[in-house]
């Protein structure tokens, strides 16, 4: 029998108090592990999501709102930008891809956000070296009424290739669009908000009732945006506008224009534009900064870097919450440490005899000291290991719930090396906690202990 088995057996002898104290440590460790893992996973997700785009261009307003709505679909879009503005970006030599985004609507079933976009979105890497993939024999957006859905949408709604679905007009529960889109492909899981989004072809999106802007409003808006007169705008879109006005005269049926081919550019709007810039990563970063500066001076739109905005949000908001959680769990662990201290210290009077007997059998003072310390370490480690397992169990159970509530995809078996620091922390704590009782054992009088 060595010291560890001796300590272990005397722990086992006092099973209930030992288990209770270990359990309190386990609880603290479990919470800490859960917080660490969730935090790591969430941070990683935030850092990766949107990292494939250098800039998101949107109307003036809150950059955070722009990113949250465009990349995460968890905030309302700010306003709209004229289609012509998107076309300008397409022609900008610094821009490799400009991808238009139209948002606000949701699927009738499941209430998933709808994004109207171009096929370009799916051939662009959504994060460095990460491309969207659809299933075998499935397609991307090719036709006007095509849709591609995220893996979660497919799973929750039971949709697959060929499924037709309708959508609800932005913010109006009772306004279901008549038009139907057909699922052409299901995206492989990406661990990003794309998984819970339904993408439809932007052409179809525009052709839906109420999605093309009334022409007079459109002229007004475009003129205002580009600081031109309405006459200049009308001149620019003369052919389209004449055509539209002619149809208006023909029929009052509000859906009439559906049958007349693609939506004219003047009536199109976008909620935001994703930009992938030309050049090396350094050049891209530089250009992004320059563009951001230009737009700031232009005072009609803004460009935001999704990773930067999220990093700021994480440090300011999530970071503080995480810190608060870590403080809290540390406190729990410290309290459980005190619990172990009280438990061992209380047992010392009962153990005066045991210690004296061991000394009489030839144990040194340092040996009985180590024995008490060992017990404290064992209690803490036992709790720690149990806590690690328990923590992972919490993540395992919580992951799908968090996913369902917030759309954050969390790997339920995620493991972060950081969590292993609890082991040395616990050993240090156990040593501190066991020190005083150990000292009592070290100093206890053998003859007196044998009297009892």
């Amino acid at each position: 029998m060595n010291l560890v088995t001796i300590a272990f057996k005397s722990m086992k002898h006092r099973l209930v108090p030992s288990l209770l104290t270990s359990l309190s440590v386990a609880l603290g460790v479990a919470l800490m592990v859960a917080v660490l893992i969730l935090n790591t996973v969430v941070t990683k997700m935030f850092q990766e999501t949107g990292s494939g785009y250098d800039l998101v261009v949107g109307p003036q307003g809150s950059a955070t709102q722009l990113i949250l709505s465009t990349i995460y679909h968890i905030d309302n879009p700010i306003e709209n930008l004229p289609w012509r503005y998107y076309q300008e970006w397409q022609e900008d030599p610094r821009v490799k891809y400009a991808i238009p985004f139209n948002m606000g609507d949701t699927t009738e079933v499941g209430n998933f956000p709808i994004v109207g976009t171009t096929p370009q979105y799916f051939i662009t890497e959504y994060a460095p070296d990460k491309k969207f993939r659809v299933g075998k024999n499935e397609n991307g957006l090719r036709g006007t009424w095509d849709a591609v859905i995220g893996s979660e949408v497919a799973k929750r709604n039971g949709w697959k290739q060929g499924t037709k679905f309708k959508m609800i007009h932005a913010g109006q529960d009772d306004h279901v669009h008549e038009e139907e889109f057909t699922v052409q492909g299901v995206l492989a899981p990406t661990g990003t908000p794309n998984d819970r989004t339904a993408f439809v072809h932007i052409d179809g999106f525009f052709m839906m009732s109420d999605h093309s802007k009334p022409v007079r409003d459109a002229i007004k808006m475009e003129a205002q945006f580009f600081r031109e007169t309405e006459e200049q705008v009308t001149e620019r879109h003369k052919k389209d506008i004449d055509e539209i006005l002619r149809h208006e005269g023909e029929s009052d049926d509000e859906h009439a224009h559906h049958n007349h081919g693609p939506t004219p550019d003047i009536q199109k709007e976008v909620t935001s534009i994703l930009l992938v810039l030309e050049g090396t990563s350094l050049q891209r970063a530089n250009r992004a900064l320059i563009i951001q500066g230009e737009l700031r001076e232009g005072r009609r739109s803004q460009a935001a870097n999704p990773v930067q905005i999220m990093a700021r949000l994480i440090t300011n908001l999530v970071g503080n919450i995480r810190l608060a959680f870590l403080y809290m769990t540390s406190l729990i662990i410290v309290v459980s440490g005190i619990g172990i201290f009280v438990s061992i210290y209380n047992s010392m009077s009962d153990r005066k005899r045991e210690i004296a007997v061991m000394r009489a059998l030839g144990a040194r003072r340092t040996t009985v000291f180590s024995l008490i310390l060992m017990e404290s370490v064992l209690l803490c480690l036992l709790g720690g290991i149990f806590g690690l397992l328990f923590g992972h169990a919490i993540v395992f159970v919580a992951a799908p719930i968090i996913e369902a509530r917030s759309g954050l995809l969390i790997e339920s078996l995620a493991f972060t090396p950081v969590e292993l620091i609890v082991i040395p922390i616990l050993v240090v704590m156990a040593s501190l906690v066991g020190f005083l009782p150990g000292l009592t054992a070290y100093q206890s009088d053998v003859a007196e202990g044998l009297q009892s």
Binding site: M1, K9, L361, G362, R364, T366, T367, A447, L450
Partner: protein, 223 residues
């Protein structure tokens, strides 16, 4: 091993501050392999004497020489080591550890001497007639059995000197003789010197050499 006590004094301080002399032994010897019963009344200092011999209590002055080695001069860790390897102790109240089985208690008797042999522990328990009780915890054993486990434990590290502190005082009559016999026979067999202290004439009558503690402990005994 032989034992020699020279001018050993030990006194305690009374709560009032006055000196309370317990031991004052000018000379006492025990030969190698010898067995002696030391008779003394309750409170006469028997336990204190054994503690001084085993090194658990330091005498105020004097020398304790075991096997020719003056153990009083040894630093504490060395005395602990010496006790672990050379001295076996049997207590009046057994002092078995309740968390451990009979076998484990015997193994503990070797643990601090750094030599553990499950085989020898088993052998000793067998010798004590406890073959069927090895894996029982003290709480599951009768007092007689418990004391036999403690004798096995005291013998576990193959000591050369056995100190027995009223080993039969807590045991029922039927077991007293048996335990005493076991202790005497195994000590004789293994050539272990035995110093047994008791207040009972009945026990001491089993020994060839019997000493009255009061004969050589020169203190005024309080009434």
């Amino acid at each position: 091993m032989s034992l020699e006590l020279i001018d050993v004094r030990k006194s305690y301080r009374e709560p009032g501050g006055a000196e309370l002399p317990i031991l004052n032994i000018s000379h006492f010897t025990l030969e190698e392999g010898e067995q002696v019963a030391l008779i003394g009344q309750s409170g006469g200092g028997k336990t204190t004497l054994l503690n001084v011999i085993s090194g658990l209590t330091r005498p105020d002055s004097g020398r304790v020489i075991i096997g020719g080695l003056d153990v009083t001069d040894l630093p504490e860790p060395a005395r602990d080591r010496f006790r672990a390897e050379r001295i076996g102790i049997v207590f009046q109240t057994f002092h078995l550890l309740p968390a451990f089985t009979a076998l484990e208690n015997v193994l503990l008797g070797m643990a601090f001497a750094g030599k553990q042999s499950r085989k020898y522990a088993t052998e000793l328990l067998d010798l004590m007639g406890l073959k069927a009780r090895m894996n029982h915890k003290p709480g599951q054993l009768s007092v007689g059995e418990q004391q036999r486990v403690s004798v096995a434990r005291a013998l576990a590290s193959r000591p050369r000197l056995m100190l027995a502190d009223e080993p039969t005082a807590s045991v029922d009559l039927a077991n007293q003789e048996n335990i005493l016999k076991l202790l005497q026979e195994t000590c004789r067999e293994k050539n272990v010197s035995l110093l047994l202290v008791t207040h009972s004439q009945e026990v001491s009558s089993q020994f060839e050499r019997v000493e009255q503690l009061s004969d050589f402990n020169q203190i005024e005994v309080h009434a």
